[in-house]
Subunit: 96 residues, 5 copies
């Protein structure tokens, strides 16, 4: 799974019917301290995440192992909101 920050959302009136009612959020990859790195991508939200949340996203066929995304053209979902990250016993990120 990737660590990412939700930075926005995307609206599409023209999209594949199977994902018509899903929420598409723009995710920015982050490192283990919550610092933003790498290129943004779009994931379907499964856990009611919002802008600024640090989340976990899973990719590929893993993204279709849920009732919402089964058999849909989906390759990325947000499947967890991170409460805190702990490195070597220290909490380096905590949800505000």
């Amino acid at each position: 799974m990737k660590i990412a920050i939700v930075i926005g959302s995307t609206i599409s009136s023209i999209k594949d019917r199977a994902i018509m009612d899903t929420k598409l959020l723009v995710c920015q990859p982050a490192d283990e301290t919550g610092k933003q790195i790498g290129k943004p991508y779009v994931a379907i939200d499964l856990v009611d995440a919002g802008t600024g949340d640090l989340v976990l996203t899973c990719h590929g066929s893993a993204a279709r192992q849920t009732p919402i995304t089964k058999d849909t053209p989906t390759d990325a979902v947000i499947m967890a909101v991170i409460d805190h990250l702990e490195l070597d016993g220290d909490i380096v990120y905590k949800m505000s």
Copy 2:
């Protein structure tokens, strides 16, 4: 899903029979503001996209979860045209 801009098309007279009637578009990855980044790739168009459109593409086995691409050697499809992208409450991209 990746954010990408449609920049062109590709014509192939010799191709696997299963994808003979599909439209193959050249996509340029873009960041969350629509700025072009990274390497181009080719995706099968599911939503009648055209050159200049900002689109979402999905990859891997996700690309075969549609009637057009089921059981075909396809690893990327355009499954949405983006109307607008919103970051922190600001609209940073709007379809013209």
Copy 3:
């Protein structure tokens, strides 16, 4: 799908039995104008491509959606030879 140029071939006397009779070509990724970029990889040829051809390759489980590669340890196939690439109405590559 990736755009690539066929640059050579690879011969293996020791290989998994399921792919014993396949043709393994070395592919060099290319951008939308046919210029070589990135790292080479090896793909099974489905369309009788030759050295110098600009081709489309598909990857992952997509590569096994053909009678030749079904149920084999294959993760990349050449599934089209590109005749021409068109960008913004201009033909930027044409098969010679």
Copy 4:
């Protein structure tokens, strides 16, 4: 499989129900000598690994080929703890 060092853990109270009881560890990719390289990711622990362990992780649909992760939105698992790595007859890493 990737070589990685376990550097921490992540706690999520909001997560997809199917992975509610799994342990999510932060992994830092490492090279063949155990030196840290690249971007961190999160994997579900199958082998009771701990911080500082050099491990092997597998990715994609491979990560769901276990009783714990079957049919869950999981794309990375820790499936082995490395005892030692041998290069050209020399042991370059040994678990302490």
Copy 5:
């Protein structure tokens, strides 16, 4: 498939039961001339490869299309040893 050189092996006493009896080799990606590039990874050996061999590895679900790896948490296998690589009619690599 990727071109890679086998550079070593990895021993794990703690690993997922399904891959308990497999040989895990450290592979270094190589370019089309056999020159080492990129980051090492670990693959299950299907063809009795040894240190120094130039091999082909396949990745993702492709790695489980063999009797040894079926239904196991495996995402990379060595499925061929390269005898020689030919570029533009010239042999640029030959197994010694």
